[in-house]
């Protein structure tokens, strides 16, 4: 035990004296969560739009006022002809143009229907989509108000309820995602680099010649990163809750346990990487290409798995991060208990055991 403490102390010296490690460990999580939380978002706010009102009547004015009163849109300019649409899009000044056709009010009164055209700049498809939905909602709202006076024969009202994330806040998906990425990065990449560093420097040989057995060496190297990863997880959840209003509906204890399980999964991957690479560079490349990319792309963090082509959907099952994201989303947003997420938990445990077994086997081969 005393030896173990000595070993861990030495490991902390390495970490605290290396600026790059310190940055990855503490700067990165905060920077990432802030970036994802504030900058990268699917919500729209104050989007510039233009209006082409060919009718210029009372009703179109009412609608335009409604739109400009909403916090989502800012009416940048009113244009006079369709020919201008193309040129203002090209200048990039507005994201959408709302076109009212001639005789809007007349059509409304005589034909009981009138046409509005929403033209969006779809170079950014997500935003274009959101803009269309928001404008539609405003128009529906206008119709409802007016119909209350005009009393049509009958109508169907859809009532939409969004469970677990009623405001469709993107931060709700980013907090679990960033947490997964960071834990993977810290646990797998940092441990694999720190183990291969000892190999590169030749100190691994000294450690193996010492009375410490290989298991003690590995545990000593890994332990500080478990500790630091737990701190990181706490920082991320705290930021998520207090800065972005992310709820934690389920038990914090279960969340902590599942996070530790995932940290161990990532560490076992890190150890596995270090057994197959002999230099820090190789370890870094393997971690980035082999772990980070799948975590970001295939885990469902950014791109929904259900809309991926079938082969990718199948591949996503072997990505531990996918299961962890399902687990923490369920705990944080839905208040899930272990009865609900036991399957995902078992999958993670199984993967961890598999990676550890494989590392031990590789390690032995190397020693022979």
């Amino acid at each position: 035990m005393k030896r173990f403490i000595g070993f861990v102390t030495k490991e902390f010296y390495h970490i605290f004296r290396d600026k790059r490690s310190m940055f990855i460990l503490f700067g990165m999580p905060i920077a990432q969560i802030m970036l994802f939380g504030f900058a990268i978002t699917n919500e729209i706010n104050n989007v510039n739009i233009a209006i082409l009102d060919q009718s210029k009547d009372n009703e179109t004015h009412k609608i335009i006022n409604k739109i400009s009163a909403s916090p989502y849109f800012h009416i940048e300019q009113e244009i006079n002809s369709e020919a201008q649409i193309e040129s203002i899009f090209k200048k990039g000044k507005v994201k959408a143009v709302l076109v009212f056709q001639n005789n809007f009010i007349k059509d409304l009164q005589t034909k009981k229907q009138a046409k509005v055209q929403i033209i969006t700049d779809a170079t950014d498809p997500n935003i274009a989509n959101t803009i269309t939905n928001y404008i539609n909602a405003i128009l529906q709202n206008y119709l409802l108000e007016n119909n209350a006076i005009n009393q049509p024969n009958y109508q169907i009202q859809t009532q939409t309820q969004l469970y677990y994330n009623p405001e469709l806040k993107s931060v709700f998906t980013f907090v679990p995602g960033v947490m997964t990425v960071i834990l993977m990065l810290v646990s797998a990449m940092m441990t694999s680099i720190s183990i291969t560093r000892e190999k590169e420097l030749g100190t691994m040989e000294i450690l193996l010649v010492s009375p410490l057995n290989p298991l003690q060496v590995i545990l000593g190297k890994v332990f500080p990163y478990i500790f630091l990863s737990v701190i990181n997880a706490i920082v991320i959840v705290t930021l998520g809750v207090f800065v972005f209003g992310m709820p934690v509906q389920g038990s914090l204890f279960l969340l902590a346990l599942e996070s530790i399980l995932f940290i161990i999964t990532a560490l076992s991957l890190g150890i596995l990487i270090s057994t197959v690479s002999n230099s820090q560079q190789t370890a870094m490349m393997l971690s980035l290409m082999g772990l980070m990319l799948p975590v970001i792309i295939l885990s469902g963090f950014i791109f929904p798995i259900s809309s991926m082509p079938l082969p990718l959907q199948i591949i996503s099952n072997i990505i531990p991060a996918k299961w962890f994201i399902i687990i923490i989303k369920a705990i944080m947003l839905k208040g899930a208990t272990i009865q609900i997420i036991w399957k995902e938990t078992l999958i993670l445990i199984g993967m961890t055991l598999f990676f550890i077994g494989l590392s031990i086997k590789k390690y032995k081969i190397r020693l022979e």
Binding site: R17, L201, G202, E205, I206, L207, S210, P211, L212, L367
Partner: protein
């Protein structure tokens, strides 16, 4: 196997696939001896040494180091030996004191022992002024001497030195060998691999490995006589040419 032999190697071999790195070597090393283990690059000396220090399992044959069988008691072997590798192997981002504390700790020394040893070691090497500086800032010669002293921290019976003087200047090498002599006087056995043939002259006995086999083993004086030359360098060249 007399009691005086602290290392006894009998028909030791190591085979990787169809390549025989070490081919049935046998030799003994006496207690308190400075034993030179020579050979060209790739002659198999590092592989042989790895088997003796318990980190590589022999394919066949036996080796007893400090009274323990390397095949079955490698943990006991590790406790009885010190090791310094050809790469300078201390932590650059730890201070001298921290390095000593760490290596003392993994060899199971108590806090009091570590404190005493640290004080003594820093005094002997005259490192008082830099004791709290990072090892990375020291000149290579100092690092090497420090690494040697650290390998001796737990007072091992045998110290294995794998090309300990690679890349240091002649004066430091001279000083380094003085340290080796001093240690041998205390009764410690030193097992040294080296490329420098002038260093071979400092050893009590040397063995020369060529292509996995020990081709010569005697005192430097006898070897020179046997091959009728006046330097170990010439002995080495003659041996290597004969094989080719």
């Amino acid at each position: 196997m007399s009691e005086e032999n602290i290392i006894s190697v009998h028909n030791l071999s190591k085979v990787f696939g169809d390549f025989t790195a070490v081919n049935t070597i046998s030799f003994d090393v006496k207690k308190g001896e400075i034993f030179g283990f020579l050979g060209a690059n790739g002659a198999g000396k590092t592989t042989a040494m790895k088997m003796l220090i318990g980190i590589s399992k022999p394919s066949s044959g036996d080796a007893i180091v400090a009274g323990f069988d390397v095949k079955t008691q490698s943990e006991m072997v590790k406790k009885s030996i010190g090791y310094m590798s050809q790469k300078f192997s201390m932590y650059d981002d730890l201070t001298i004191k921290e390095n000593i504390t760490f290596f003392g700790g993994i060899y199971g020394l108590s806090k009091v022992q570590i404190k005493e040893k640290t004080k003594k070691l820093i005094e002997e090497l005259q490192l008082e002024a830099v004791a709290s500086k990072l090892v990375g800032s020291l000149p290579l010669g100092w690092k090497q001497k420090l690494a040697f002293s650290v390998a001796l921290l737990h007072e091992p019976k045998i110290v294995f030195l794998d090309e300990p003087t690679g890349g240091v200047d002649p004066i430091t090498r001279r000083q380094f060998w003085e340290m080796i002599y001093a240690e041998a006087h205390k009764g410690t056995t030193l097992f040294v691999t080296t490329h420098y043939m002038d260093e071979a002259e400092y050893c009590d006995r040397v063995s020369i490995m060529v292509e996995g086999k020990i081709e010569a083993l005697d005192t430097p004086k006898n070897l020179k006589k046997q091959y009728n030359v006046d330097s170990m360098n010439a002995v080495f060249l003659k041996l290597a040419r004969n094989i080719e």
